[in-house]
Symmetry: C2
Subunit: 334 residues, 2 copies
């Protein structure tokens, strides 16, 4: 893509995630190999980041930090007290203009708190939201909020729609994104008080609004962006992951329940593997925190090198496409 010719610098948290630092470093190497204009600032302890930086040459810079935020720490207080952690120092570098984007597969709460507190919100944004990209039968769909805001007001959902549309357009290449509201009926008058009022506001203020979609439509690929509150979105995302895992596991069990089944299954393996790959969330490489002043992509704790690589590529693409500026413009238009 043409945009890849423009340089982009992504800060990567070297010690975030269940498989850090090894899988993170492998992912960085993959990303560098796939995009020659990419630069990486690797944040973490000296013994992790310095050897890698000197091995990789001038496209990788080491950002040595002395503190580590653990997965079980209280996010906001960890961010306040551990200013020299990879997460806080990484977000600060973006804030100060030393990098274009930040990626971590560490504590979601801490990354969210650091990005919000250190980078700050984009002027006009009421609440940053976490988005996720869902593979569907058609084009992928951006679902948000998936957990940043358990309690929402209708006007937050309007901004989630605008931020999600900016992301779908810049990162997924959706032209004139179709935006839907997750609800429990098709009619505008259906749903909770929140959903009914959000529908009314979205119909007035959101370009490309196509109305309500129901739970059964989430995988249909009929919308580029699906908006909901962070409680419903989080339940929906985890249910989707849980159902896919349970069903594919049960299909696998059925296929290995006898020698004859196993033989038959081996014939089908390549086709089923392609299906599994297509449903693999790693393809989309992480969840963007939308609404903060800087690109911030948060990876699954279980991210392996492929997911890390894709997340870094997505971070660079969002930065090159001017995601932050597009969101600022979209929310200030109302």
């Amino acid at each position: 893509m043409m945009t890849e010719s423009r340089s982009a610098t992504v800060v990567v948290d070297a010690v975030g995630g269940d498989f850090a630092p090894d899988e993170v470093l492998s992912g960085v190497a993959l990303a560098l190999a796939s995009d020659s204009s990419l630069r990486v600032v690797l944040a973490g302890p000296a013994e992790v980041v310095e050897p890698f930086a000197s091995r990789e040459g001038d496209r990788v810079t080491a950002l040595v930090t002395t503190q580590v935020i653990e997965m079980d720490e209280h996010p906001a207080s960890a961010v306040r007290t551990k200013k020299d952690s990879s997460i806080v120092a990484g977000c600060r570098l973006v804030k100060e203009g030393g990098a274009d984007a930040f990626f971590s597969a560490g504590s979601t709460g801490a990354a969210m708190a650091a990005a919000t507190l250190v980078m700050g919100r984009i002027p006009g944004v009421m609440r940053p939201a976490i988005a996720t990209v869902i593979p569907t039968a058609g084009a992928p769909t951006v679902l948000l909020d998936v957990g940043a805001n358990a309690d929402c007001k209708p006007e937050y959902l309007v901004q989630f729609a605008q931020m999600g549309a900016a992301y779908a357009s810049i990162v997924l290449g959706a032209h004139a994104p179709r935006v839907a509201l997750l609800n429990i009926g098709e009619e505008p008058t259906k749903g909770s008080t929140l959903a009914i009022e959000a529908h009314r506001l979205m119909a007035e203020q959101v370009a490309g609004f196509i109305g309500n979609v129901e739970g059964r439509d989430v995988l249909a690929g009929e919308a580029d962006v699906i908006v909901t509150d962070g409680f419903t979105g989080n339940v929906a995302l985890k249910l989707l992951e849980g159902t896919s895992k349970a069903l594919l596991g049960q299909v696998k069990d059925a296929m290995t329940s006898s020698a004859m089944n196993k033989a038959a299954a081996s014939v089908l393996k390549p086709s089923l593997q392609r299906l599994k790959d297509r449903l693999d969330p790693d393809t989309y490489g992480g969840a963007p925190l939308l609404g903060v002043s800087g690109v911030c992509i948060i990876g699954h704790g279980s991210s392996k090198s492929k997911a890390v690589c894709n997340a870094i590529r997505v971070a660079a693409q969002a930065a090159r496409g001017g995601l932050t500026e597009h969101i600022a413009e979209a929310v200030s238009a109302n």
Copy 2:
């Protein structure tokens, strides 16, 4: 089962559902054949119910009605104006003691409105809720509310827990049902204002409360009852149905993508069919509306004879087990 020896009379809406009356009548015949102490009152137009009743003999009575509530009518106003519809007349018969339970695969909204307005609420119940039984890897799980109450207060969720536990115990045979709250984190302090307060109340007031479960745990079979508000529950149920359908469809596509795949798939067919049967919601035959003064089971609009049969059996079982009395006792204990 011993309980089946006790007589139970179920009113069946002969004209409710996409495949009525044919599949409804076949379902009634199947249910009668499987339970010799079952009696059915068949509600609907004379030309549908009378020939069937005279053919089936003295275990089926015709309840001739002259009005029909269509799927697209406004539920509450249809119930108020069409007092001689199968749905309203059926609920009235239960209210007056002429039958023990009511089943319809017609308009969910109308059945819910009729049951609530005609049968009335069980004293002490704040809001009736619709429950659904989800097949899991382990024991089936009762999920509620799946759509009756889009906006909920924490104290409603406490009662949903009590009502769901009564259902799990009577209909699914769960001893000391484990009750969980659907939430977006495991800790009691996680979630929306509603979820946090509901957790606090449930911990105090609900027997067998095991804490929060997340979306990914819904299919794990770790709880006999999972409680949530009607908005989240409806999104979750439809997402579950949509995901299962999409995934099994994609597995099928992968299996028929070449002649060799087709041959291999034919070997696997029996194993996969068993999996499909196990996941089939028709096994549990309909969603109970809990909290009204009488047993009311609402079927999917797409119910075929097997689903109708199972729903009627479930209705009879709930009536024989004293579901209404158990719920009255559970909610009055607080």
